[in-house]
């Protein structure tokens, strides 16, 4: 394992900055040059090879450092927050470039990030950690569609999944005045628990005749879709202040109005997530 320091050496060219470890390892010059050129091609740095690193931007310097690692043909790359000191615009484009680079190199890469969008869009498998404990390792879609516990459910996805606590009743979990249907076998797994948490993604909500009563506070229209933000109906003004926000994605053609009350139900009852409040684990 080699720690890659990305301080660049000011007197050496970009090519030498990338290839010096090969030189130390006794790799012949022709092969060294070929590997440096290949890495530079992958990183869009060909025209910089003969330059000194002086005037390079932060992103370019970082790519030179990545080139240093690439030329050594490692079996695994570990990238620890590689985009954290780039500006927002460059982050998005560099993220795309790094993902493409990884595909072309075909080398297993462990990529550490605090940005879930980065993790979900770049990763083949994503490991979610909390306080040093591994919560779940899965494909991005499995993390999204079948989060293993309440932490992953609330963490992955933006806007976040609605996590609503209700009493266990015959046929489901009662949230406000509405019983969210939950299959009998799922309820059976919660033996002895009086309350459970149901999780419904904003895009799995629809306006319905019968559903969870929600007072609409804000409607945000984004192109074809809109987001409705509200709180459970029937709360006192004081309770409302402390109440959990409920988010639903609705068609922008028929958006509800601010200040009205609507009813929300799951479009697809099978994708309602159910979690134990006690163990935080997924039951559905």
């Amino acid at each position: 394992m080699v720690f890659q320091n990305y301080a660049l050496y000011p007197h050496m060219t970009v090519a030498d900055n990338m290839g010096f470890a090969l030189k130390m390892a006794g790799v012949p010059k022709a092969e060294r040059d070929a590997r440096v050129l290949e890495a530079a091609n992958l990183l869009g740095l060909e025209s910089f090879l003969a330059r000194k690193p002086k005037a390079l931007s932060g992103g370019q310097r970082q790519r030179v450092a990545m080139g240093r690692a690439i030329v050594r043909s490692p079996q695994v790359f570990l990238m620890d927050e590689p985009l954290s000191n780039l500006d927002a615009k460059l982050r998005v484009s560099t993220r795309t470039q790094i993902a493409a680079l990884q595909t072309r190199l075909g080398v297993t890469t462990v990529y550490v990030t605090h940005d879930q969008v980065e993790a979900m869009t770049m990763g083949d498998r994503v490991a979610v950690m909390k306080d040093g404990l591994l919560q779940q390792v899965d494909s991005p879609l499995s993390l999204y569609d079948a989060p293993t516990n309440l932490f992953v459910a609330g963490f992955i996805g933006s806007p976040a999944m609605n996590l609503l606590t209700g009493n266990v009743v015959e046929g489901g979990v009662k949230v406000g005045d509405y019983i969210v249907p939950v299959p009998r076998e799922t309820l059976a797994k919660a033996a002895g628990e009086k309350t459970l948490v149901v999780g419904i993604r904003p895009e799995n909500f629809q306006l319905a005749e019968a559903g969870i009563g929600v007072d609409v506070d804000v409607v945000e229209e984004l192109g074809a879709d809109g987001f409705v933000y509200g709180t459970l109906s029937g709360l006192s003004p004081e309770q409302k202040l402390a109440a959990q926000q409920i988010v639903a994605r609705v068609s922008a053609r028929t958006p509800p109005h601010r200040g009205t009350a609507v009813k929300l139900a799951a479009k697809n009852p099978e994708t309602v997530h159910v979690f134990s409040e006690k163990t935080q684990a997924r039951l559905s």
């Binding site: 394992m1 080699v2 720690f3 320091n5 990305y6 301080a7 660049l8 050496y9 000011p10 007197h11 050496m12 060219t13 030498d16 010096f20 470890a21 030189k23 130390m24 990183l43 869009g44 740095l45 025209s47 910089f48 330059r51 000194k52 690193p53 002086k54 005037a55 931007s57 992103g59 370019q60 790519r63 954290s84 927002a88 615009k89 460059l90 998005v92 484009s93 560099t94 795309t96 470039q97 879930q116 969008v117 979900m120 869009t121 083949d124 494909s139 991005p140 879609l141 999204y144 992955i156 996805g157 933006s158 806007p159 895009e203």
Partner: protein, 464 residues
């Protein structure tokens, strides 16, 4: 009172109120020159600046919060174990710019007086023997760190400062960002540090070579290979077990003397005898660096580097013999030596020349000067006469090493100018030329829409 953004917070054991009015709402790289001091230093990946605070000079490094606090604590631990490292002063957190955007915290350390970063040494041309001494100092530091269970993680010339130590150098750790402290290190952990050391040092020597600052007779590869062998020799001498016949008990004393000569005290020596007493096996378990400097501190109250202490102690022994005081208590003689030899030399140095060398280093150099003068003139040159000669012939002409930027030159060679006098990582002004087009950073990035949120539908379409 109107605050621009949030108020910065200071984590410090002994807070310096003069830090408070500094422009914490400005990124360190953009601080006005009035706050900065252009002192020579190594290259780094973070923004590092020397700042003037009252009459002191501090080093400031902008780095993310958990690393800043981690490094502050690591440096504090090193100071506690008496390991040569820069002194941490504070971590400034909660910084925001005048738009309310958060800025990374700043770690502040005290500038090490009379310290020489390798770049400033090489800038003036370095003889091959000096390079060898610098490597020795680095190896001693690395071994000392490993002995106390300190895994450095980023061994490099840029991450140490050198101080003159009689004819040698002493190395101080500057950067502890990647460090870990363990109960003790495994061989694998030590090898890991050595791998990092060789790669970084090879890069640094190659860079000096590219900048025509490395003596042509030196080869970066040979240099880093010699670090490995020096490290292994020293480590073996300090930690290896040794077995010998039960008749050779004097070898226990020999081993202790060898360790003392290397500058280490033996705090715990494991001695095992075979059942029949025919063989003895000894192994040092705990060794502490600073054998001579501790002795000098105890006897004369002088806090010096190890080799300076060795030299001064030799002079003290000579003084004792010359004055026929073999029977007198050592501490009493040490006091006489201090008042009759050491102090007269130090006080003879004019005030304006005291920034050139530390007192103990001056004393060492005066002793050298006197030896050469006595040889030349075939007589015993008195100490004070030698001191005046030294001041006249040597000290006057030396560059100031305490820290005056003006005399040290702004980290530039004779004919090359740093692109940014406060940041050697930016290279020199003569490497210019038009910037090529960068396909990764072109502005027409309309094809990279940033949804700003997790677009799960796009992910489903990609069929992952």
């Amino acid at each position: 009172m109107v605050y621009k953004g949030d108020v910065p917070r200071f984590l410090a054991s002994r807070p310096d109120s003069l830090l408070i009015p500094l422009p914490w709402d400005v990124p360190l790289a953009e601080w006005p020159a009035e706050y900065l001091v252009a002192l020579p230093r190594g290259i780094s990946r973070h923004v590092v600046r020397f700042i003037q605070v009252g009459s002191s000079v501090y080093a400031a490094k902008e780095v993310i919060e958990h690393l800043a606090i981690h490094e502050y604590r690591m440096l504090t631990d090193l100071r506690r174990t008496d390991t040569p490292a820069v002194e941490p002063l504070a971590v400034v957190t909660g910084r925001t710019d005048d738009h309310g955007e958060p800025l990374d915290p700043v770690l502040i350390t005290r500038h090490l007086e009379f310290s020489l970063p390798y770049r400033s040494l090489f800038d003036h041309g370095v003889r091959p023997e000096t390079v060898s001494r610098l490597l020795d100092a680095l190896v001693v530091l690395l071994v000392r760190l490993h002995l106390i269970g300190f895994l450095w993680g980023d061994v490099s010339l840029s991450n140490v400062l050198f101080r003159r130590d009689a004819g040698q150098f002493a190395a101080y750790l500057v950067d502890a960002e990647t460090a870990e402290i363990h109960e003790s290190l495994t061989n694998g952990q030590r090898e890991h540090d050595l791998t990092i050391a060789t790669t970084n040092l090879y890069g640094e020597f190659s860079d000096l070579e590219a900048g025509r600052m490395l003596d042509a007779s030196l080869d970066p590869l040979n240099l880093v290979e010699s670090i490995l062998s020096r490290y292994r020799d020293l480590w073996a001498e300090l930690t290896d077990a040794e077995e010998f016949s039960g008749q050779e008990t004097y070898r226990i004393e020999n081993r202790v003397r060898r360790l003392n000569a290397l500058g280490f005290d033996v705090a715990e020596l494991d001695i095992r005898t075979s059942a029949d007493g025919s063989t003895i096996r000894i192994q040092p378990k705990v060794v502490d660096a600073g054998h001579h400097s501790r002795r000098l501190l105890r006897l004369a109250g002088l806090d010096t580097e190890e080799n300076q202490a060795r030299r001064l102690l030799n002079d003290l022994d000579t003084f004792r013999a010359r004055t026929n005081q073999g029977h007198v208590d050592e501490a009493v003689v040490a006091h006489q030596w201090l008042t009759e030899c050491f102090q007269p030399v130090v006080t003879a140095v004019p005030h304006d020349l005291r920034g050139k060398r530390e007192a103990a280093q001056i004393f060492h150099e005066v002793l050298d000067y006197r030896w050469y003068a006595s040889q030349r003139e075939h007589r015993e040159v008195p100490l004070l006469e030698a001191t005046w000669g030294y001041i006249q012939d040597v000290l006057q002409a030396l560059p100031d090493e305490a820290m005056e930027a003006t005399t040290l030159g702004l980290m530039s060679g004779e004919h090359r100018q740093l692109a940014n006098p406060f940041d050697p990582s930016q290279g020199f002004t003569d490497d210019s030329g038009p910037m090529p087009v960068d396909p990764w950073e072109t502005d027409d990035d309309d094809d990279v829409p940033d949804p700003g949120f997790l677009d799960i539908e796009a992910l489903r379409r990609r069929g992952r």
